[in-house]
Amino acid sequence: MSLWKIAWRSMQQRAVASWLTAISVGLGVALIVAVLVVHRVVDHSFRRGAQGYDLIVGAKGSALQLVLDTVFYLGQPVDLIPYSYYREFVEGRFVPAVRVAIPICTGHDYKGFRCVATIPDMFERLTYLDNREFRFREGRNFYPENYFEAVAGYTAAKKLKLKVGQEIRPTGYGETGSKQHEDEPFTIVGILEPTGTPIDRAIFLNLEGFFRCAPHQVGPSYEESLLRESEFRVVEADRGGQTQRSEGETDSNPGADHLGNEAVENQHEYDASCDDHHHGEEEESRRLSAILIVSDIENNPQLAMALPRIVNEEPFAQAVAPAKVIAELFDGIVGNVQRVLLILAVLVVVVAGIGITVSIYNSMSERRHEIAIMRALGASRGTVMAVILLESILLSLGGGLLGVFMGHILVALLSPTIAEHTGVIVSGLEFQLVELILIPGLIALATVVGYLPAVMAYRTDVAKALIAAP
């Protein structure tokens, strides 16, 4: 026998009312848990969406737009940069600061799913989330020499029922289905395993094939872009000002630039093979949406850290750290949405807490007799007050645990829908430390809401209540 057991028995006696009260608390807590879990997973997924590379190089303009387009495949590209600028990262002046550089072209879609033109290195040299390597659920990566091959992300393939061997014809923005490219179609050769990143919702085309489509073979070259700029700029490398470049001094020998001549071996076979086909005028007309950069922080930390500044000093390009932009976006907008949702959920719990007060308060008239019996048996005023408070705490904690359980079930039930619509994989088993705050929070709430009926119990006139009919 203990005060807990006495409180528990009192609840059992009013089982229906107790259950309803606990469930109302549980619903509020479930809402809090769902908001916390979904927010954390979405937050992580957003923040980790750009993991695997630390810099995005794109055309000058909105950094946010560049990140949304490049990382999340949302919105439209800021502008385009010349393909020749990409060469600066794989065989030119930026080579020492770069471990991996992946060119991408966005701007096309297939039945509502974004098409991203890139090179096979995207899945061979980049990783996602915590250094996880891309794996193929079916098929394989596209080959550099097979220009019209494509790879589908998990969700895109699932939603579009894409199979390996299926042919697709992407459309550009503003084009209708009837205006699909008349060029050779792309053949799906592989379907990726789910990654929990926006990659799941995209289709990846061989960049070479993409460029061979007629509409993509126009545009200014890197040199032309430079010539358009009227502003004289001095680009200084971060090597103690050893060398300087001024307007007009374009690199005729990119491998021997001011950042060093090493690391040409970083260039992938793809680039070598492409060299055979696309040097010259044809290549100069090509444009890219962005370049994903993995900096070589380990070997050349100073140069790698200077790279964004150097790129930003270019007249037409910018380098953006996606993690920083995403953090600003999340903290600025999504964080506020979460706060509003959490406040609403807390209000639901508070209302449920008031429900506990009402439930116990309403039972007090019938319980006065029981309390009087306990007092007659020797229970002190403090003891009966404690019994009522413990009952309130049991209802809150019971409802809270029920709510945590319901919250995670809710998340698990919503998980497939969230994954399908957003590519974010949410696990119902994803528990968070912050959920532990719920326990002291609920105890505090229970103490507050149980106080009024507890005081009523404290003030019970034993003699009167004993004489009164039970």
């Binding site: 026998m1 203990s2 006495i6 028995r9 009192s10 059992q12 006696q13 007799h369 029981e370 019996i373 306990m374 007092r375 007659a376 048996l377 020797g378 229970a379 002190s380 005023r381 403090g382 003891t383 034993v462 003699a463 004993l466 004489i467 009919a469 039970p470």
Partner: protein
Amino acid sequence: MLLVLEEVKKSFPLPDGGRLEILDIPYFALDAGEQVVLVGESGSGKTTLLHIISGISRPDSGSVRLDGWDITLLSEADCDRFRAKRIGYVFQTFNLLPGFTALENVLISMYFADGRPDRGRAKQLLERVGLGHRLNHKPPMLSVGEQQRVALARALANRPQLILADEPTANVDVGNQQIIIDLLRETCREEGAALLLVTHSPDVARQFSRIERLEHLNRLSKREVQQPL
């Protein structure tokens, strides 16, 4: 003397601001182990007197000494503890806690006394009153006679020096009335507890060697009461 009441007065407030005087007892005493029956008219203050003796109600004035302790001088918390340990109470309406089993109703009384329920003794008492097979039954599952037996076991749980029984057979069927009275008197004797039993029943009262009429103890009604049993 185990219990001594001296100059105990009790009144209740009236809606008009006045007071209704109920009790004015110059002296009442009870020996250890003694069994006394208290009779009186309805509304004469018998239950109020038991409440005062048990410390549930405080007298307006006077002293109530049990085993040398004047419970009117104890703080409310001390009085609660004192009552739990030294006084057993058997109510007319049994007053069992409906959500608790028969065994738990006995254990809870022990818990309130010293926080250490003795399960063995609780079972033993219930077996003594013939409810060894009903330990885990809740009051609504017991007959009225059985409920009163549980109440009796509960009253004896803490080895009290005094048992106060407030019309314990009033709600019990005729067949069980004598069984309850016999059980009450026997167990009190076995436990060495004094018994002060309030009843309206002349049959029950006759079985006691000492019969007290409240009207004789109470100055306020002495003049009016001359009725034989």
